[in-house]
């Protein structure tokens, strides 16, 4: 299996452990990633607040690179997924816009065929739809028995459903649950698992942002989760890096919920060492995870 790989800005910046764990896990699974080193930021839904056409053109540039490789595109960020799916949808519906964007892309020899489109999939979707849970199960060397893990999706991989291919794949809002159980961990569910982590307004309304994170983390801890797992590095930033500050808004005392990136959870089940997966490079210690797995 080969994919053009868009790692996103955050996995190369404030969440480098995501990138490291992804490129460590992929060959172990037999997935070949062809990284788009010259790819650009998707705009994260922010550039579109300034100019929708600019955001679409930036995404078309990445899509064109993947199309040139004749490969589907894999991302490791819920936000990238949502933004990419929405950009694809707009360009598919507006051939005039796509044409205009292609005039600009042509200057560097790129062309995005919006009508033909491109399979753009988060690693989570790749795992369940392309790789298959049975094959994943067959690769497990250390089942995550004893680990109680909860899902945290990130808004952009869940909504809006019609644009994110839910008509064809109606269970996309359950994939994290499927994966957690396939790896042998105990699934913990809680109300906030599909809500907003609060990250988009962290620098705008910090109290609201941290209260959102605190609510979800408190619920998860109350339900007994040893950790949460997320396919979105932006959610990771708010739930992990901001957790010490969010604790003051929490409804539980002693808030401590380690947050794992999806490839880290997969890697642990594949028997890769926690150090190699950089599980120790989070703000919230992963000791609960390691303790649950060693007991």
């Amino acid at each position: 299996m080969r994919y053009a790989f868009w790692p996103g800005c955050v996995s190369k910046g404030a969440a480098p452990e995501l990138y490291t764990s992804m490129v460590r896990v992929a060959p172990e699974l037999g997935i070949e990633l062809v990284e788009l080193y010259d790819g650009n930021c998707t705009g994260a839904g922010v550039i579109s607040e300034h100019s929708m056409e600019t955001a679409d053109a930036l995404n078309a540039r990445n899509f064109a690179m993947a199309q040139r490789l004749d490969l589907p595109l894999m991302n490791i960020c819920s936000t990238c997924q949502g933004v990419q799916s929405m950009a694809q949808n707009r360009m598919r519906k507006n051939s005039k816009l796509a044409e205009e964007i292609n005039l600009t892309l042509a200057e560097e020899g790129l062309h995005y065929d919006a009508e033909a489109g491109l399979d753009v999939k988060n690693f989570l979707w790749v795992l369940v739809e392309d790789y298959g849970l049975d094959r994943l199960k067959s690769m497990i060397k250390k089942p995550l028995t004893g680990l109680k893990a909860g899902p945290f999706y990130g808004c952009y991989i869940l909504r809006p459903e019609p644009i994110l291919g839910f008509d064809e794949h109606p269970d996309r809002d359950k994939y994290l649950e499927f994966v957690i159980e396939a790896l042998g961990a105990t699934l913990i569910t809680y109300e906030g698992q599909d809500k907003c982590c609060g990250f988009p307004i962290l620098t705008i309304n910090k109290q609201n942002s941290l209260t959102m994170a605190a609510n979800h983390l408190s619920e998860a801890q109350q339900e007994g989760a040893d950790c949460l797992v997320t396919p979105c590095p932006l959610c990771h930033l708010n739930l992990d890096a901001q957790q010490p500050d969010a604790a003051k808004y929490a409804s539980v005392n002693g808030l401590e919920v380690p947050i794992l990136h999806l490839p880290q959870l997969i890697g642990l089940a594949l028997g890769i060492s926690p150090e190699e997966l950089r599980v120790n490079r989070h703000v919230v210690s992963s000791r609960k995870v390691l303790a649950a797995l060693s007991s």
């Binding site: 910046g13 300034h50 600019t54 949502g82 809500k195 907003c196 705008i204 309304n205 959102m212 490079r281």
Partner: protein
């Protein structure tokens, strides 16, 4: 078919805590959740309170949480949610006080709609006859004009869940109804007001309002149009607007996001006090190896990214006022 309902009951006057009550009613296959609730009220338990009127998804009276998500009870068929014998959970709309059972108190909802001044404020004397507005301009407002004020978006809004002062998706969608209207002349003062705390920049862009709206109003998309209009009108005295502009500037410069400078620029390039608020989190970021690089990676094709910004970035946000209104 046998329809099983689990309904949240609450009567504040009784002094009792809310509780859940189960009902089972025989309904035709084509029944809606509202049909089943009315059947309960008429023939099984007259004490159950709910609000409804048109039964045709027009009046917006029967928005409530069904299986954890805001929906119009009259537009939701029981078959779409449950097989025979499966229970359907029915609760009042969220983010609003409950008057009784499934009846939410819409007073805070209407207060916020009124707060955005949802009426036309044209300039100059009124035309002799009616205002004439081009079709295209009104078509651009088609989504917001579909709003039936049911409150489904408000019920499930994740920002309102943590902050009751947020104006919320319905009121802000209504705000775009007037900012986007070519007859209205108060864009700038409106956008200034909407840019205040609890306004357009407090939306998390979680898309839940888009998902639950029964009339496809896409409230969040309208909020994003207000943001784009505010940025283009030069209303930059807030972190939201500065965040957008900083994001654009930094991606234009490097092709990728510069997470080190983004929060600094968001506070304002010369706002040292605001910037200092990020210092306390720096040691833990450094300790865990998560401090973004001070000198960000620049992609090799950055000139192509700059070309894209130059080509598309200077345009007016669309679809704003397509054509000015002309009077007779």
């Amino acid at each position: 078919m046998q329809v099983k309902l689990k309904v949240k009951r609450f009567d504040p006057e009784s002094g009792e805590e809310p509780y859940y009550q189960q009902y089972s009613v025989e309904m035709p296959e084509t029944a809606t959740v509202l049909d089943a609730l009315i059947e309960v009220r008429e023939y099984h338990d007259g004490s159950l309170s709910l609000r409804c009127s048109c039964r045709s998804a027009i009046c917006g009276s029967c928005a409530m949480r069904i299986n954890g998500r805001a929906r119009l009870a009259c537009k939701t068929s029981v078959r779409s949610l449950a097989e025979e014998g499966e229970e359907i959970l029915v609760e009042p709309a969220g983010n609003m006080p409950t008057i009784k059972d499934l009846v939410a108190d819409m007073a805070p909802f209407w207060d916020k709609v009124r707060a955005v001044k949802p009426w036309l404020q044209p300039s100059g004397p009124p035309p002799e006859r009616e205002y004439v507005v081009p079709n295209e301009a009104m078509q651009a407002l088609g989504e917001v004009m579909n709003c039936i004020m049911c409150g489904a978006c408000v019920s499930d809004c994740t920002s309102l869940e943590v902050d009751k002062t947020f104006l919320g998706p319905a009121a802000l969608a209504k705000a775009w109804r007037f900012v986007g209207d070519p007859r209205d002349a108060q864009d700038l003062s409106r956008l200034r007001e909407y840019s205040e705390p609890s306004g357009i920049w407090d939306c998390t862009r979680c898309n839940i309002c888009v998902q639950v709206c029964p009339k496809d109003v896409k409230p969040m998309d309208q909020i994003l149009k207000l943001r784009a209009a505010a940025v283009h009108e030069g209303i930059r005295n807030n972190n939201g607007s500065r965040h957008t502009l900083a994001f654009v500037e930094l991606v234009n410069a490097n092709g990728r996001l510069d997470e080190f400078r983004l929060p600094i620029f968001t506070e304002g390039k010369f706002n040292i006090i605001g910037q200092l608020s990020y210092l306390p989190s720096a040691p833990r970021m450094i300790r865990s190896g998560k401090m973004p690089p001070v000198f960000p990676h620049k992609i090799s094709g950055v000139k192509h990214v700059k070309r894209i910004f130059k080509q598309f970035g200077e345009r007016e946000p669309g679809p704003a006022k397509l054509v000015s209104a002309g009077g007779h």
